[in-house]
Subunit: 300 residues, 2 copies
């Protein structure tokens, strides 16, 4: 890694961010999301990296949000794409906000750590309700399978956070065979929603899943995830809101009850619902380390 690509954030800056995140608590509010984003924005380099080639807005479908950015190391080859699916409560979010390091940080980190990075956007509720987000994850993976050879891609690991994790989970639940046939070899599910029957229903999740709670069991991915063959890393944050902790813990319990062993899992110490993905690429990063070890385990 050249000097220009080393992150120059200090131990003190990381510690200050940690304390501030802890002080924000575990409520998921617009103010918490804004403050968390502000805390981490200054810790990442904003200049374009000279060690990662970025290919923007490749088109994987007909909607204007059917777009993928790709991140490729200029010096090291990889046969595995890490496809990031952002959160945003089913109704918002983007793969990239110009002038912000997010979620560019995830693509760049991936390219520097043995993957071809990929970040995608997808259709949003209420215009595109369930299962549009999951369909878009499958379509994006299929696009990578069809077009990835130009980048050396042979395998794909899906990585969703929050609503993005719910979309990845639903994609596995509804179309595991198709994903496997297109080279998807694993999934990272961070702070997602898997069992709607115990979830915290709110206006935004209803915009995606619908108002009719009698459909929630059938639209939950958890039981299919328990039965799925696809290796999954289940992630959560120490300061995830209580109802999100219940989702991750419920999935882990259901998997361990069925398989007698725990799934691969990671809890991000000192992080809230958002800060874990914003931290990716900085020192002392549990998430990146867990993803690397999970991916290495898939090849073992």
């Amino acid at each position: 890694m050249s000097a220009s690509t080393m992150n120059r954030v200090s131990e003190k800056e990381l510690e200050d961010a940690r304390r501030a995140v802890a002080a924000l608590g575990n409520s998921l509010t617009p103010s918490m999301l804004e403050q968390t984003t502000a805390l981490y924005a200054g810790l990442h380099d904003l200049e374009p990296p000279d060690d990662v080639a970025i290919i923007r807005d490749r088109v994987y479908g007909a909607d204007e949000r059917h777009r993928i950015d790709l991140f490729k190391s200029v010096s090291a080859a990889s046969d595995t794409a890490l496809l990031f699916v952002h959160g945003g409560g089913f109704v918002a979010g983007d793969k990239r906000k110009p002038g912000s390091p997010f979620y560019e940080n995830i693509g760049i980190w991936a390219a520097r750590n043995g993957f071809v990075g990929a970040t995608m956007t997808y259709r949003l509720a209420p215009a595109s309700p369930w299962p549009a987000g999951a369909d878009d994850v499958v379509a994006a993976a299929a696009w990578l399978a069809d077009n990835g050879s130009a980048y050396g891609i042979q395998n794909i690991i899906l990585f969703g956070q929050s609503a993005g994790a719910a979309h990845v989970a639903t994609a596995i639940a509804l179309q595991e065979q198709k994903l496997a046939s297109r080279g998807v070899v694993g999934a990272v599910l961070l702070s997602g929603v898997y069992d709607l029957t115990i979830a915290n229903p709110n206006a935004v999740s209803k915009a995606y899943y619908g108002e009719d709670a009698s459909l929630y069991a059938a639209r939950s991915s958890q039981s299919a995830l328990v039965a799925a063959k696809l290796p999954m890393l289940v992630g959560m944050a120490e300061y995830d809101p209580v109802h999100f902790q219940r989702q991750s813990m419920g999935l882990i319990q259901a998997i361990s009850a069925a398989r007698k062993v725990l799934p691969p899992l990671v809890q991000l110490l000192g992080h809230n619902h958002l800060s874990g993905v914003l931290h990716l690429g900085l020192p002392d990063d549990q998430l990146g380390l867990a993803i690397r070890l999970f991916a290495a385990g898939l090849k073992a």
Copy 2:
């Protein structure tokens, strides 16, 4: 860190060890323990470190196994001791085996990562049955509190693995107030036994806990751990034997049921019951990172 203290293990060597550990599976057998130890022994430096002062065999009690080794950075001060309590099935184990890097690696890692390292031995079953091991953990912590000022120690974090975690857990269950009064501010419980009523009873655990299963509920630490105020990091290995996974998962579930949030936890991906502690100090170390973040959180 000077060049002589940088670990020179290669990415390839780590990857080979990972594959070999995965191939060993999750059975806890003498052969597995031997092979795991052999896999990791060669990856650590065996030369005495020039950046860590080691003070051996300080005496904390009347038994010949009442001994502590201390590890202090020659360049950086710390006010927090990390006291490691080894495993060995209640009937075996030591803080150090001359000619082997274990568990010297833990003291050296601690000294290089913001702690004063400490490794202790304790009395063994069958000669010293329950709760001798827990009493010795309390005695060692008290010794550190009484004698630690010479090393700058004001706070203590207990760190037990396997039977060592069972001893730390029992010490918290029986003597939390005394531990707190002597400066114990946190505990790391890795792959321990907390609920004897669902444990896998075998000859060695019976040697410590006794043959009479009607005592096992009262000799279990889990319900006291749930009620404890002491911050605890609950650790486990991906390839822990099934009955050990059940112990960690049971503790995590009991804590989250009572507190509505998960405790700090870490799962060591790609590690078996023993390899996690043998890996400490090498690159890509989830355990060390989690302990550092847990300790930082105690000060936040």
